[in-house]
Symmetry: C2
Subunit: 564 residues, 2 copies
């Protein structure tokens, strides 16, 4: 048996995982990682938390759980992997099965032969050619260098104002990190919402929360220019002419696959610019695999290709490659359902599967959504309200779930992700046996509750209307009869101010004469979370009212302003 020569380009998540897995399966393979940066196996998803002071030991981003920095010595000793750092691959010579690489400092070149090659070159930040982009103070947050720069900004305390351009995952994390460092942050997002993996209505709740923490958020307007003095950033000019003063700007407008080396080697490239791979993570060249942020994978719901630059997927893909490098194509990676989660101060926001926006984009027909606002625990255990949106297809199969709020979003999204991957339907979930005890869950788990509401909607018992559609009616000057089913003391504390009629649910049956005389008049019922709103609909329909709707999620899911 001759020694297998494996070369891995890229030593962060996917590459390091593929190499380590291959090593475990073949102690005698000759494995080399070629890494352009100085560092290896960086925990890049942790950068914002180091910037924001969640922890102060920079090495923690580079260490094993036992506290050993994953440097070339570690890779050699613990993994018997040859890690060339500060070394760039200049070209792949597919006919000769070799890579030409160059030390970024010395310029020294060498050719390394491979039997199997892995490309795990990751992604690079999008930095469009906005005038002034070269000014001092403008950075991204995708490298240790960026991280060190922003951490220094935190530590020296001189910067008072910063702008984060882009309201995606990294943008929101950067916003939190800098705002928590005592810097006044403004997030500027060109589209009409932050966190585009969420639908607008849930994203708006996150935006409201970020603002409540003192950060500014501007949506729907792009950046036209960086303004500076003496080569240093002094402000960000928006397309509407506004200038936001700042001395630091973080560009966080997404990443794109760093696939040039594959493109130059004439590997097949997909529509998102990522290297095309099959289910074995094999490129169009059978001797070359690719994984992580430089590839496109399959969207398991739509079957289309997707760009899903997530650290967890990179690791899982790398593991599949490690297996296939040694054992032939035995392991497969089925793709992504676009599961993600993001901390935004003490809020969390997560999504799995299709958002309504995504469903519309692919032209999915016959789907139904429902918004659920309900607590993550019993009230006496310090419950926090979660707001979620469930999407099912015409066969009532769970296809998407989003959840935001102060509570335990992580469990919610994990539960829903498994429901989607297990191809479960509403009927499967409504009687699920999930872990219940007061410190962890209400008696009826929030996700199960969302499926209960969906069932009521699908069975025609609850006629839902979204907050967005209610707002559109108000904006159009329509005057439905708004029925607020809460108690007077709750109304005192919190009031929509949309001309609603307060009729506590407990009094509704005796106050039917306060309802419109026309039984076909449009009535929109709600309460804090719209459970009583739903009960009101049941009562009113039984009494002959034909056009009753429930504002889904109630006041807690209302993303607009309210009277108080």
């Amino acid at each position: 048996m001759s020694t297998k020569k494996i070369v891995v380009i890229g030593g962060s998540a996917a590459g390091a995982k593929a190499a380590a897995k291959a090593r475990r399966l073949d102690e005698f393979a000759d494995i080399t990682i070629i890494q352009k940066d100085h560092d290896l196996s960086m925990a890049s998803c942790g950068y914002p938390y180091y910037v924001g002071g969640t922890f102060n030991d920079r090495n923690a981003l580079l260490c094993t759980p036992a506290g050993v920095v994953r440097d070339p010595v570690f890779f050699q000793k613990a993994k018997k992997i040859n890690a060339l750092i500060e070394t760039e691959v200049v070209a792949i010579n597919r006919p000769e099965k070799s890579v030409l690489c160059r030390n970024v400092t010395s310029g020294e070149e060498q050719t390394i032969a491979y039997d199997k090659l892995v490309i795990a070159t990751g992604a690079r930040a999008n930095v469009p050619p906005i005038p002034g982009v070269e000014l001092e103070g403008i950075t991204t947050l995708v490298s240790m260098e960026n991280t060190d720069y922003l951490r220094q900004v935190r530590d020296n305390g001189e910067v008072k104002k910063a702008v984060v351009i882009g309201g995606g995952l990294i943008g929101i994390e950067a916003c939190e990190a800098l705002q928590e460092s005592g810097i006044q942050v403004t997030v500027v997002e060109a589209v009409d919402q932050v966190l585009t993996f969420l639908d607008w209505d849930l994203a708006k709740l996150v935006e409201n929360h970020i603002k409540s923490k003192g950060a500014n958020v501007v949506t729907g307007v792009g950046v036209s220019e960086f303004v500076g003095e003496g080569g240093k950033l002094t402000g960000v000019k928006l397309a509407d002419g506004t200038v936001i003063d700042c001395s630091v700007a973080v560009m966080a407008i997404g990443v794109r696959p760093n696939s040039e080396i594959g493109r130059e080697a004439k590997l097949e490239i997909g529509k998102f610019g990522g290297i095309t791979v099959d289910e074995y993570m094999q490129t169009s060249d059978p001797d070359i695999y690719a994984a992580g942020d430089c590839v496109e994978v399959t969207n398991r719901i739509t079957g289309d290709k997707a760009f899903a630059p997530m650290g967890d997927l990179a690791n899982l893909e790398g593991r599949v490659i490690g297996e296939n490098l040694i054992s032939g194509n035995v392991a497969t990676f089925p793709g992504t359902i676009h599961t993600g989660i993001c901390k935004a101060f003490d809020f969390a926001a997560g999504s799995t599967g299709l958002s309504e926006k995504a469903a519309k984009r692919i032209g999915l027909e016959g789907y139904t959504t429902v918004v659920n606002a309900s607590p993550d625990k019993p009230g006496f255990m310090g419950a926090k309200i979660l707001i979620s949106k469930l999407l099912v297809d015409k066969d009532q199969r769970i296809l998407g779930y989003q959840c935001v709020g102060l509570g335990d979003v992580s469990r919610q999204i994990a539960t829903a992700a498994m429901a989607i991957q297990g191809k479960m339907t509403v009927t499967d979930v409504i009687t699920s046996d999930l872990p219940y005890a007061p410190p962890f869950s209400p008696a009826i788990d929030h996700f199960i509750a969302a499926c209960h509401i969906m069932e009521n909607k699908l069975k025609g018992r609850m006629h839902g209307i979204s907050s967005v559609d209610v707002k559109a009616k108000l904006d159009a000057g329509e005057k439905p009869f708004f029925l607020d089913g809460r108690n007077p003391n709750e109304f005192e504390e919190m009031e929509m101010g949309i001309g609603e009629n307060l009729i506590p649910l407990g009094a509704l049956r005796t106050k039917l004469d306060a309802l419109p005389a026309d039984k076909d008049a449009e009535i929109i019922a709600f309460c804090k979370i719209s459970l009583r709103g739903y009960e009101a609909e049941c009562i009113l329909r039984a009494h002959g009212f034909t056009n009753v709707k429930v504002m889904e999620g109630g006041i807690m899911a209302w993303p607009y302003g309210r009277k108080k």
Copy 2:
């Protein structure tokens, strides 16, 4: 359409839910709840948290989320449900379709006719006739009355020592509540472990944690007598003669179905003493449904009947009944997979599906288990170690998962519960797309990691040995070669003291001569969590060692004492 008369016996979880659901589906049904206690819809799972001072407002156990106490007035006004409290059902007259009930104070009797009857009488605490059981100071923790008593014990601060008899869910929660109230607690459990839904090895980790919080735990010995003076409890005498001083004892040795009323009405009763119901939650009388702790449901994994007295299931079952009461048998309850979770100080312990013990009990053949110790988050985010045990059947289908530790056990058990209910296999889980971000998860989720280890084991790459089997070898005087693959600084901090040989993984390849000369000698490798232990096995097998095993879960899963 004549008005449907629905009578519900029991107004806690299942009964109240069935009644409320029926009301939403039929505004004009005549619905009566008959409740023996004074209170309705009590959040009984919350009792220990009120006792322990997690919250101080007793009404929170009885309120809606909007703060309204669920008393008969509330039921009448908000639900149009007639709730008779302090009223006991004396007999069910099935031929006449009526119940005879009696006010527990006045003794006044009345007969109430039904079209459909629901029995939701719950469970009662097991209180065996131990000598002295009538002494003052002995209580259970299953009613508001018990709760008020124990809360008073906390508040007046006179009790210094308490004994909790039974180490199940309620026992452990009672232990925490009293210990956190400044009382020295001893838990006495007759079998050899606490929390019998866990396997012994994981339960022992929970026991160790409880002891680390200052409580005593005695297992494997029963109570023979309550000792008292002047009618008041002064101690608990164990079967081995030990007397534990205490002035309060909480009996928490399980509950049994409160099914007498059904038995007397000649309804079919199951092997656990619960009322037999079918998938519609219908008893042997088609006009009588039953739900909650008084019934037996189906174990979805084994198909056998099960007693599963859990508040979440009671609610889900009640909802199914509500539907079937109004619409005929349209809704089904598929049963339980015995999902449960318990807080034990800052530990959590959960389980779903089959434990190894349960698998053995039912004679399941060809199953495999694996123990995984690994963090719930990245190290830099304050990771906590979770210890879990996964069980798969011969077809690699996920059948059971237990998890204990300081970290996010709730998400773990919810994820696994969905995997079981979705009939997923190891192959399905190893590439799952779960929500990842550093505040919520490591890049490879702990449950996915458990499936990765299982795959390695199933493919014959990792030969695991449990901590229990290692201990048995030590106790039998066997001398396998123990290989600790950690670094010297880790060894300084924590040492097993079982004659292990410290060979850091990074040095192993150069120190093969320190291993036994006999390549067939038994070698047991481990480290803190046994990832390096596994890597050591890979290296050693590649170098011809034939009998290498990995101690599953490493030192973190070792439930016995260690040198330091």
